[in-house]
């Protein structure tokens, strides 16, 4: 689905990482960990076409990311759900309008029953008509997750989804992502929360990748 082959990325003239290989198979569950500034967010951006690799080959759904025009990137993003740490909502739209935004921009209409079901799944039924600034950190993350999955994407990329929430909410978000993986979705979570990874490994067969010293490595038995 998403494949990075010998990829390097330079930022501000300095090499952030190089020789990086990653393949996300359908239905797989990956964690991406590493110290702050190692390039986890950049790696995710390469996976959803926000950035283009300095060298090497990045393939999104079989297509070379360098050859994709902006419309093709937009089409690819409809197959990838992204959850950011800061959520990135449109504050003038209600929660339900924000969640339905991927459908809106693709010219589709969400059935109200589907939206109600989705809101119930993330536990935001009562917040549907509120505006994003009125939500707590955990509620915002769950709304972002609902928005990421409304198009029924094949891949879900989450960048520090538990960064701003307490442990209980982290576990709740994790269980939602595990549930999505059980439904056949490919999941990649970038996090530095080792405890969360340990809890997840008890629930799902996950590969843990560590971005360190400009290289991507498979994490060892310490996790």
């Amino acid at each position: 689905m998403i494949k990075l082959d010998n990829v390097a990325y330079n930022y501000g003239g300095a090499e952030l990482f190089s020789g990086l290989n990653l393949q996300l198979f359908s239905g797989s569950f990956h964690f991406l960990t590493g110290p702050s500034g190692a390039g986890k967010t950049t790696l995710l951006k390469l996976c959803y076409g926000e950035l283009v690799a300095t060298s090497g080959l990045a393939r999104l759904f079989g297509q070379d990311a360098r050859t994709l025009d902006r419309d093709a990137v937009a089409q690819a993003r409809r197959r990838i759900g992204v959850v950011h740490q800061d959520c990135q909502f449109l504050d003038h739209l209600t929660v339900i309008e924000n969640i339905a935004l991927p459908l809106t921009v693709s010219g589709r209409t969400a059935s109200s029953s589907d939206l109600v079901d989705l809101l119930g799944w993330v536990g935001l039924s009562r917040q549907a008509t509120q505006f994003p600034p009125q939500l707590s950190g955990g509620e915002r993350q769950r709304a972002a997750l609902a928005r990421a999955v409304i198009m029924s994407p094949e891949v879900i990329l989450a960048d520090e989804p538990t960064g701003n929430v307490d442990w209980e909410m982290s576990q709740r978000l994790l269980s939602l992502l595990v549930e999505l993986n059980n439904m056949g979705k490919t999941v990649l979570i970038a996090t530095h929360d080792i405890s969360l990874i340990r809890v997840a490994k008890a629930q799902v067969s996950a590969r843990v990748l560590r971005l360190k010293d400009r290289r991507l490595q498979l994490a060892g038995a310490d996790l």
Partner: protein
């Protein structure tokens, strides 16, 4: 046709896309105000251009058909020379009608300089004969030669000397009116482009989020373009209405006289101002679309 189809499709609208982009206060007001001001000016430029065109047509058509023969002769020979001149004129091919001006008509011509009570019968002033030409005109050089031989005191004035500069001046005035309209359209485009750029910059976060969830550039651009096109239409319609009312309130020609009071529209030309709001909307559509797609390309 393609751009017209897009314009109509755009005006039909997508309420969901409109909701996604929040309205921005000062750029909205700036667009409406500048479109109104430019439309108001465009009405005057259009009126000037049409009035100048009418004037040029009238001068070139009406004066081209008429000329004047001036006979200077001693009083005792005046009637005889006038009679000979009339005979010559009536036998000239291309001359449709001739008419000696009466003493009253000559007095009226001199009245602006000498007052209404001038005793023209007692003064050695020339006799004027008005000549009406047929459509194809007459041979002025040949006529002059014949007159020189038979009526030595006759001078033929076919108005060319002063008609041509007047027509040229009127045509230049019309051209300046057209140039003014082009400049107004260009200024409108520039103002709306600046406002659209400001709105796009203010909504950078909105654009980022819409892209994140898979919005294509054309979808994002359409939300901005529709808003600016409708604002320009509203502003231009208001400006056109006010401009047309101002033209209507100008003094009537028969009441005040003179060229400037003829500034305005006549007959079906009153329909021309209706074009202005749609023209401004079209300019806004093209300017905003270009600005939006350019900015989105730069932001990617």
């Amino acid at each position: 046709m393609n751009i017209l189809y897009r314009l109509l499709e755009l005006l039909a609208g997508d309420p969901q896309a409109d909701r996604a982009v929040p309205p921005t206060g000062f750029t909205a007001r700036l667009t409406v105000l500048s479109a109104a001001a430019m439309a108001f000016l465009a009405v005057f430029a259009l009126a000037l251009s049409l009035a100048a065109g009418r004037l040029a047509d009238r001068w070139s058509e009406e004066l081209a058909k008429t000329s004047t023969l001036r006979i200077s002769a001693p009083q005792d020979q005046m009637n005889a020379q006038t009679s000979v001149a009339l005979t010559v004129l009536q036998s000239t091919p291309g001359v449709a009608e001739t008419r000696p001006l009466s003493a009253d008509e000559q007095r009226a011509l001199l009245a602006p300089w000498f007052g209404p009570d001038l005793p023209v019968e007692n003064l050695p002033i020339p006799q004027l004969i008005e000549i009406m030409a047929e459509k194809e005109g007459y041979d002025a050089t040949g006529l002059r030669a014949r007159l020189q031989a038979e009526v030595p005191g006759a001078v033929l004035d076919d108005h060319t000397r002063w008609r041509d500069p007047l027509v040229e001046a009127a045509l230049r005035l019309r051209f300046l009116g057209i140039v003014s309209m082009v400049l107004i359209a260009a200024t409108t485009a520039a103002m709306i482009t600046l406002a659209a750029h400001a709105a796009l910059a203010a909504n950078a976060q909105v654009i980022r989020v819409m892209r994140l969830v898979g919005a294509r550039d054309i979808y994002i651009a359409r939300a901005f373009v529709r808003r600016y096109t409708l604002r320009a239409l509203l502003g231009a319609a208001t400006g056109t209405l006010l401009g047309t009312l101002a033209i209507l309130m100008l003094p009537r020609v028969d009441a005040a006289g003179g060229f400037l009071t003829g500034l305005g529209f006549q007959g079906w030309h009153w329909l021309w101002p209706l074009v202005i709001p749609f023209l401004v909307s079209f300019v806004a559509f093209v300017a905003t679309r270009q600005a939006a797609l350019h900015t989105l390309k730069e932001q990617s």
